[in-house]
Symmetry: C2
Subunit: 359 residues, 2 copies
Amino acid sequence: MTQERQMPDKAIILTNGELKNSDAKTAHGLIRGTKRFDIAGVIDTVSAGQDAGVVLDGLQRNIPVFANITDFIAQADVKPVWAVIGVALAGGRLGTNWEELLLEVLENRIGIINGLHQSLSTVVRLKAAADRNQVRICDIRKPRPIEELHYWSGKVYDVTVPRIAVLGMDCAVGKRTTCQMLMTLCEAGGIRTELIYTGQTGWMLGYGNGFILDATPNDFVSGEIERAIMDCARQSAPDLMLLEGQSGFRNPSGPCGAEILLSGDVKGVIMVHAPFRTHYVDHESAGCIIPTVESEIELIRMHGAETLAVVLNTETGEPGRLKAYQQDLATKLKLPVIRPIEEGVDRLLPVIRDFIANP
Amino acid sequence: MTQERQMPDKAIILTNGELKNSDAKTAHGLIRGTKRFDIAGVIDTVSAGQDAGVVLDGLQRNIPVFANITDFIAQADVKPVWAVIGVALAGGRLGTNWEELLLEVLENRIGIINGLHQSLSTVVRLKAAADRNQVRICDIRKPRPIEELHYWSGKVYDVTVPRIAVLGMDCAVGKRTTCQMLMTLCEAGGIRTELIYTGQTGWMLGYGNGFILDATPNDFVSGEIERAIMDCARQSAPDLMLLEGQSGFRNPSGPCGAEILLSGDVKGVIMVHAPFRTHYVDHESAGCIIPTVESEIELIRMHGAETLAVVLNTETGEPGRLKAYQQDLATKLKLPVIRPIEEGVDRLLPVIRDFIANP
């Protein structure tokens, strides 16, 4: 897969009432912009009648939300090729209430793009409907065959393109959104930047190099990171690579960070943090308290990388309190700390330029 | 799989000339002792005629080494049920020189236990030979279907059995051997101990609970660690669980450690270290320098666990130099540092008893 490609396929996004929730982060990424698909609408009973961009973050994006497939078809000039499942449920499995919606999609001769762990192409009723209507169900998170996976070799040390990982203190904190904002920033600033995606949404957004980390057998994670970086350097020779992080470094439900920094030989980190979140998402026990940003920065240093800036997720928290937190943290860390939704990410451009000059 | 089982199957180990090398660590574990198989011999051209235990570490274990299958059959009273591939090659794939050996095994109506990533049951010539001779090829490292895997839930926090992880500063440093020595030590000391295995050799040795970490899709590693611990507590209610570590915490070729400590809620670590090894095994670049033990202990602390002792791998290093290193390190760390081959592991019994009393 490279970023050079033909016209993107027309697609709709299925969120089935979840569009407003953080579970719909695949949908949110697609609404913010994708090169892989031309998004014609969202199917969501709860938010029907509104613009999906407005529902997401108040910005009009001309992506209408419909209550069901019939309503969508009634107004559509061209039928979409794909319906993308826009939710990433904890557990990676869809409830049974989804099955009827998916059958309706298939009966309308629209294929399905499924980024969940659960294979849908092997569900008997769905497979039969897909075959009958001559459309495909693509399970993009299915692990690739062992024969196509790579072991780590150390050749990544020969890749001289500077690399920054966008890590998060937790899941669902805004890592991928931050990546998208940084991509726009860097491109506008004349820095040719490529994103190495590590999740299914990254693939859906149309980024050229990467892999789906959580679906990869553990032994091959390091080698696939390395391969994505090497392929990207060879195909695009950019000025900068951004690596999309996953989970949190010390999230007990699935720690991730060491692989990205060490196996990808990454020397810079931009950390995304939700200030008033006390526990890792979906877990309330004492063992799941999120550590301090200071301690995380020290941990990152122990993995050979420096933290360049902190990006705050301001979804929760009163504005005055968030601003005070931001100033305190910036003083304590002696690092730029930004609130991207309110301020944009422009202040990170000189930071990134510095890093590229002295990686 | 539980530890209660019938008579173990008779098996031979295939090492194909590698018996003396660290690549044959699966064989080494089996020679040291397995509850899953009754080991009748080793096939290895280089070490043929010797006792496998003597080749391994000088201890007679009445496991003869034969140059080939024919020689073995000529003296065997009972034919083995299985031939276990005893090497774990970097890359997890066998060279073509192995294929003839495996065909000979199958033609003698002996099944194959394969712990490599490479599936052998799908290799056309091997599959045909297995079918013709009505024996099986078991690819034990094949990832289990998604439907059988578990997500992490946090229920591990309810398991009160104290847990010690045996981690290593690197791969191939003696983690599993240390586990086996500690199991013997604890059992002799009246501490009912269970091992949670995380590699294919652990399965082959017949331990009851665990999973093959490196073959597990990344998203399920944390949940499978938790499940193994919960199953073990329910089935055996031991006084202590030992968790087998994998790789090294900061080994760029595949870092591992955070998952075991955090997702398994493990509070104690015994660290295995090869004193004079400068670089991670098989990797000589500057990025692959092994960090100091002090720094690793600090990293472990940042994951909520304390290091209880350091076990030295004394395979290389002159005895006087090793002893001086041991004393220096013990002084510096204020921890027990032992040379298990020379001294045994008895000094760790009070350490483990203390940990169980105050986990």
